[in-house]
């Protein structure tokens, strides 16, 4: 063991080393941390970026924005962070890990109902009905915050049967038909395909969250990172995002 432990450590360290030092020449790996709702659009953008910049690999890490922010603060290697809310981006900025975030899209809310719409939901105010089972995001996460804003705007009191920890939880409960309705992002309804049906929320009462994107301070590939951010902000990038249901900020 006395001999084995250093060997083991050396192996682990070398593994990390080769991974991180992949830069140098033209073979570069760009690490992008992005909110889970960006999965479809950013996968497409990353492919486009790799085609435009041969030799560059984009590694995508999707997750809840707050979780990603925590990973970044704990020192996870990342070059770009795209968050689903300014609040989470602020956490990263306050920790000194990012500067100059730029808003790039907006995501509005929609009502998701099961395919057969058992409660016959067609209007927002039906969610206030006591017989209608509603799933919401808990108010502490961005999607819950924005949903609460929508109900505020509409002067509606909604008592959910469950407050899910994230928007995926709400979608699961809706697509399995366990609830009559859930409030999620427009992009989630689109991404879920025919698992759920979307019911529009009138623009007058709808609310949205703005997504900021920023390069991270620790990035060793600042130039490549900047190019990726530029692509996301470009006209072509915006069109990809709009196809996924996002709106211009």
């Amino acid at each position: 063991m006395r001999a084995a432990l250093p060997v083991l450590l050396a192996t682990v360290l070398t593994a990390c080393g080769t991974d991180a030092a992949g830069g140098g020449g033209s073979d570069e790996t760009l690490r992008v941390f992005a909110a889970a709702s960006l999965t479809g659009a950013f996968t497409e953008l990353a492919e486009k970026f790799e085609t435009d910049n041969p030799g560059t690999t984009v590694e995508l890490n999707f997750g809840p924005s707050s979780g990603l922010a925590e990973q970044i603060s704990s020192g996870a290697p990342a070059d770009v962070f795209a968050s689903a809310s300014q609040t989470t981006m602020d956490v990263v900025i306050e920790a000194g890990d990012a500067v100059d975030p730029q808003p790039f899209v907006r995501n509005t809310m929609q009502i998701a109902v099961p395919r057969d719409n058992p409660a016959g939901i067609t209007r927002l105010d039906q969610l206030g009905d006591n017989d209608v089972k509603v799933a919401l995001c808990q108010p502490q996460v961005p999607c819950g915050e924005v949903s609460a804003e929508v109900f505020d705007n509409a002067g509606l009191t909604v008592e959910p049967v469950t407050e899910e920890v994230d928007v995926k939880g709400v979608l699961t409960k809706v697509s399995l038909g366990e609830v009559d309705a859930g409030v999620v992002y427009v992009t989630d309804v689109l991404a879920a395909g025919d698992e759920v049906t979307g019911v529009e929320i009138p623009a007058a009462v709808n609310a949205s969250t703005t997504y900021p994107i920023a390069m991270l301070e620790r990035s060793e590939r600042a130039e490549v990172a900047e190019e990726f951010v530029d692509l996301v902000l470009s006209e072509a990038g915006t069109r990809v995002l709009e196809r996924a249901g996002f709106e211009r900020p």
Partner: protein, 266 residues
Amino acid sequence: MSSRRERPPWALGAPAALGALLLVVPLVGLLLRAPWSGLPRILATPEVADALRLSLVSATLATAVSLVLGVPLAWVLARTDLPGLRLLRALVTLPLVLPPVVGGVALLLVLGRNGLVGQHLDAWFGITIPFTTLAVVIAETFVAMPFLVVAVEGALRSADRGYDEAAATLGASRLTVFRRVTMPLVRPALVAGGVLCWARALGEFGATVTFAGNLQGTTRTMPLAVYLAMETDPDAALALSLVLLMVSVAVLFTLRGRWVGTGGTV
């Protein structure tokens, strides 16, 4: 037995020390970072009181259900010769290794409003299980009962059957033998399994959040409250974790001293 203490060889001692550190250091970290001064304020909030009460009640109910159903199940697995028993044993212990979220989805597919059984409950009796405290108890039982079954079954297999046979020869019915002879013999395993089962139920997260949902006072148990608090108030999350840790330690400690005396090691 001789009580010769020997220094462990390096090849065993070093990994053992690393293993112990891996298990203990995170708990020490929790204790060091805990917001001790703010503890009373955080624990007095209605959210925390609700979560703690719900956790204690549901974990205790889940353990009770596990005892009522799990002990006979363990007996059947250990002492009978039914066909398909090996398969049954494998299936019964599956939740031990199954990710709890998968268990939660499975429960939804069976007991949910559109589930195999749930749709009839809904149509015939107007009962829906998800999003109720009952769902929390079911989810916890699903995840925790195997711990009890495994502990009790093992003890039943290794227990001396001579006493059972003697009692039967003396005219005791099978139920009397089970109650008066078999159970007292495996009591240490019963207690140990029950405690493990309770502790596992208390810590249950994945199956609960998937099957029962997450609502204060109805389904938001301590682990769910910890997860939620991490999003906004890490100090509160630490305080809640501390409570869970203390409850677990207290229970293991008390039971170990009091009941698991004779020959049992928990």
